[in-house]
Every structure is written in structure tokens, then in C-alpha cells.
Symmetry: C2
Subunit: 313 residues, 2 copies
């Protein structure tokens, strides 16, 4: 398989990305290679500088860079030779099996929607993230920011997408789906959440266990946590900030260390015709490496094809 990686995206690009790519090259499967997209001379000289002499990394030239603050749609329209545009081109032409970038999140979302596009039958693709579980392993939470507000049927579909993802990528048998709410009882929450509850409950394809609360994020109640992107984004950033506080205080713990964004390295976009992972803007080399390994798992588990099959058979 070939994993495309944007060498120019992220606050510490291209250095951190090239370093991360070299780390990833040492850990990926024999049959996997990396396509490192960016300004050819810059990327090649960094690979040389960091002493990379292997054959797992190929450099793909991209003369332009979409900056972090640029308007996603405008930037993608004008910068057709940017690393993000090239990456999605490779993904669309199936010259890459996955595309990862720690660059402009909006451009990554828009790029995915304009190139490989949403899977037929998917109402709103979603950005997912990972929730460390006290018993070990991870659950998946979605959405964490692609859709600030969601209709009940969109939340229902997040339950389905998350369920398939938890089963095939996280290897959780019959994953438990919980709806994030302010109380356990049926009938709690906003009108949208109440309607989503009824839809999730009636959905025979998922193992819906009902409402969960903020205190249930890390326990064993649910493997898949369904919420709108406004709520998920707040939860995610709150967890990340708590990791930072613990880290600054010198408190280290295997469970809380998983709150570090580096641990999984990025957030997958679920529901588009391809494997796409968005990294954190501040991505370190370790985060980049883990983002690539996450993409490798997504490709191996044929996750987007499974989503497609689910909605088109």
C-alpha cells in the first residue's frame, strides 16, 4: 500500500513531518511505502540531512503550500499544485491508498469533499477521534468538529459509522454505541438529541446502549460515543488541555498519557471515498509517525470500502 503524507502541513513542517516520515518508514509493513508530498528540493535535502537512505519514501513534488490561516475553498481552487491538492489527486486516482496531513483542517475537509467526495448515502462525513478507556484500548467519538450542528438522522448515522469503525479498525466485537447527553434517562436533552435517541434505539444494525453522560467517556459503558461536532470538539480539546496540564506538572500515567494527541497522531475523516487522516497543527515527528500508522490500519481494514458497502448494498 501507498500512504501519501503532506510534507508541508503543520506548524513545524516540513522538518517535523520529514522526521516523522523517517520514523514511520522504520515501522510500517514491508509492503507499505510513503509518498512524501512537498517542495522536492526542500524535502529531499531534509531527508538527506536526517540521514535517510532507505527505499520506503518517495518524494512527490508540489510547488505550492496552503498555509494554516488560508480560506480552504479559495486556497484549494487557486493552489492546484499545493501539497494538499496533489495529495487528494493521488487519493482520487488511487495512486495512494490514504492521505495524511497536519495542515489546514478546513482545506483537508473541503479537499476530501471535492476530490474523493462523500460516500453515496452518507449524509455528512464526520471527523472522529479516540477516547482512551480505563480498561485499556480506545473508544471512538464522533463528530469532533466537522459538523457543529447535526440533525437526528446525521447523529444516527454517526452511530453506524462509529460502530463499523470500532469493529474493523479498533477490533471491538459488537461495539456499544452511546449517545452523549446530560442525563441517562430516555427523554433527556435537546429536541435533536431526543429524536436521535429514538432513531438510534430503532436502528437494528447497531448495539445502542442509550444515553451516556460526561462522566462515562472513559469507562466501559460505550465504545462509540455519538455527539454533534460542537460538543465533541469541546470534549476533545478539554481532554487535550488536561493532558498538557498533567504533563507540565510532571504527572505521568499510562491512562492519561493517551490524552496526548500524539498517541494516535490524527483524526480520521469517516464517510468519504478514501482514507484521510487530519493531524494536529502542532504535530511532532512522533505524532506524524502515529498518524501514518493509523492510516495504515485504516487501509488494512478496508474501512472506507466497508462504509461504502454498508450504504450501497
Amino acid at each position: 500500500m501507498r500512504i501519501a503524507l503532506d510534507a508541508m502541513g503543520g506548524d513545524f513542517a516540513p522538518d517535523a513531518i520529514v522526521k516523522g516520515a523517517i520514523m514511520a518508514a522504520r515501522e510500517i509493513d514491508e509492503a507499505t511505502s510513503l509518498l512524501l508530498i512537498g517542495k522536492e528540493d526542500v524535502v529531499n535535502s531534509l531527508l538527506k540531512e536526517y540521514g535517510y537512505t532507505g527505499n520506503k519514501i518517495a518524494v512527490v513534488n508540489a510547488t505550492q503550500v496552503i498555509e494554516m490561516g488560508e480560506h480552504p475553498t479559495k486556497a484549494l481552487t487557486h493552489k492546484t499544485d499545493s501539497s494538499i491538492a496533489i495529495g487528494f489527486g493521488l487519493l482520487k486516482m488511487q495512486q495512494a491508498d490514504a492521505f495524511c496531513s497536519a495542515g489546514n483542517t478546513g482545506a483537508m475537509l473541503v479537499g476530501a469533499m471535492f476530490s474523493v467526495k462523500a460516500i453515496e448515502g452518507i449524509l455528512r462525513p464526520s471527523i472522529a477521534n479516540f477516547v482512551p478507556k480505563l480498561k485499556g484500548g480506545y473508544g471512538v467519538i464522533l463528530d469532533v468538529g466537522a459538523n457543529a450542528e447535526c440533525k437526528p438522522e446525521v447523529l444516527e448515522q454517526f452511530g453506524e459509522l462509529g460502530s463499523i469503525y470500532a469493529k474493523y479498525v479498533l477490533g471491538i466485537d459488537n461495539p456499544k454505541v452511546g449517545l452523549m447527553n446530560l442525563g441517562e434517562e430516555e427523554g433527556k436533552g435537546t429536541v435533536v438529541v431526543q429524536a436521535a435517541y429514538q432513531r438510534l434505539k430503532a436502528n437494528g444494525n447497531i448495539n445502542f446502549i442509550g444515553n451516556i453522560e460526561g462522566r462515562d467517556l472513559f469507562n466501559d459503558k460505550a465504545d462509540v460515543i455519538v455527539c454533534d461536532g460542537y460538543t465533541g470538539n469541546i470534549i476533545l480539546k478539554m481532554a487535550e488541555s488536561l493532558y498538557d496540564v498533567l504533563h507540565e506538572k510532571g504527572i505521568s500515567d499510562p491512562f492519561f498519557d493517551k490524552f496526548n494527541y500524539e498517541a494516535e497522531g490524527g483524526s480520521p475523516i469517516l464517510g468519504v471515498n478514501g482514507n484521510v487522516v487530519i493531524g494536529h497543527g502542532v504535530s511532532s515527528p512522533t505524532a506524524v509517525k502515529n498518524m501514518v500508522l493509523q492510516a495504515q490500519k485504516m487501509v488494512s481494514s478496508k474501512i472506507w470500502e466497508r462504509f461504502k458497502k454498508n450504504y450501497n448494498e
Copy 2:
């Protein structure tokens, strides 16, 4: 001042409440006394059992108890001699300056609305809570569960209520008001949050600093955090559960210890004609003591009278 305390409310009532009342009696001001409401014989025998011989606690008889699972409105209508009904009666008749209970939250909210009622001009009273700040002290977050969804004008008013509370109860000069959102930029978030942003920005009575994110809860950006009750409840319960995890792991830290619900002991209802504090269902004696001390601070600062003045002058 007289602070009424429901002896029968909470998972560990009446034992934990009576113990907490005795602890509070040792710490309250000379001029403050407690009205302990519950089954007279039970409460008196517990006071005796725990060796209380002071004159700061008076027992007020209430023959009925509203249980944790009861329907709030039905329970209040039928149990007119319950500790919660009696408590609100005392508050309404100004025989108590504050009423605290760790009992049925719904009954406390409904009781407040039916007895002392919302202050004229207040669209929706709110349950507030406290956010420990890394620099020390607390911020205030509202709503944390009274109103699952809120119109923009309600969120705007939360900004005003929180601002007055932060100034007079927490002693923060010119408190900074932040709107919880999934991004910093104006124009981010749901339609409601976007509209609330514009209203808060145009409000000359508060020091609105714009959107804040999940990562800003504990930093210096905002003293008052405005959000709907769905979001605030999730944030609050997530923080409490993280304290529990740290505690179980034996990790102790002055900042994280403030995530313990016991530290402030309860959540004030803001926007009704009286001082009301709702305790956690699992309230320990320490939590009860701190709930009483919180109520004392609210009475001293004349907080509900200040709210009233703000909307009626």
C-alpha cells in the same frame, strides 16, 4: 443570617447531612445559624449521636421526604410537608436567607420556580458551577443542566448573570466573559452560538472576550464561561470523573483536587428570588459543609438582590 439545609436530601442523608451541618456550624460566622429541615426525631437523635450541643443549629420538622427518583412537580404538589417544600416555604417567607439541598435536583429547580420564582426580566434561571483556574481561584460556568437548549438571548443573559456573580461572589474585578465554542473565530459554531456571539459582543454591561474553546476552560482567558446546559453538564461531569480517576490512581494535586465536587459543595441556581444551592446526590459531610459556606457567601454578597436590581432599575 439563617441558612436552611435539607437534612433528608442526598444518597447519604440524613447521616451525611447532619454531620455536614455540624461541621458547618463550627465554621459559619457568629451571626449565622442553620435551620436543619427533616424528620424531627431522626435529626435530633443524629445531632445527639454525633455529640452536637451548640446553639447554631435549629431543627425544623418536615414529615415527608421527596426521593431522588420522584417526578419533581408531582412530588412537590403531593408532598407539601416534605423537607424541600418546607425549605422553599421558609425561603419565600424570608424566614431563611438561603436554602441548600443535595436532594432531587429537579424538585429543587421546580421548587425554586414555583416558590420564590424567577426574577422579573430573567428569561431562564440557570444552574452555575465552578471551574478551577490554573492561576488559582475559580471561574464560573453556566448553564450546567437547567436548560438543555438555550436561545441566543438566554445565553446573553447567562453572560450577564455570570458576570455579576463573578464580580460580587468570586470577587473578580471586570470579569472576562467567554462563549464556549469549537473555534476562536467569530462566525464559528452553531447558528444559536453565532447569534449569541453577536448579542454578547454588543452588550455594553459585560466584558465579552469572544469565543473560547475546550482547552481554555482552566486558563486565564475567561472568568465566566457561557454555554447551554447540555454542553455545561457534559463538561462538568467529565471534569468530575477525571478527578475520580486521578483520586483512584492516588494522584493528588492542588489544582486537580478542585475538580472534586466537594470543594465547592454545590451548584447555585442563578436568577431566582432567593439564594438556592443544589448539592451533588452523593454529597459527603465535607461537601455539605462547603455547600453551606457557599450559601453564606451568596447571602453576604446579596447576590440575588443584585440580579434583581440589575433587571429592574
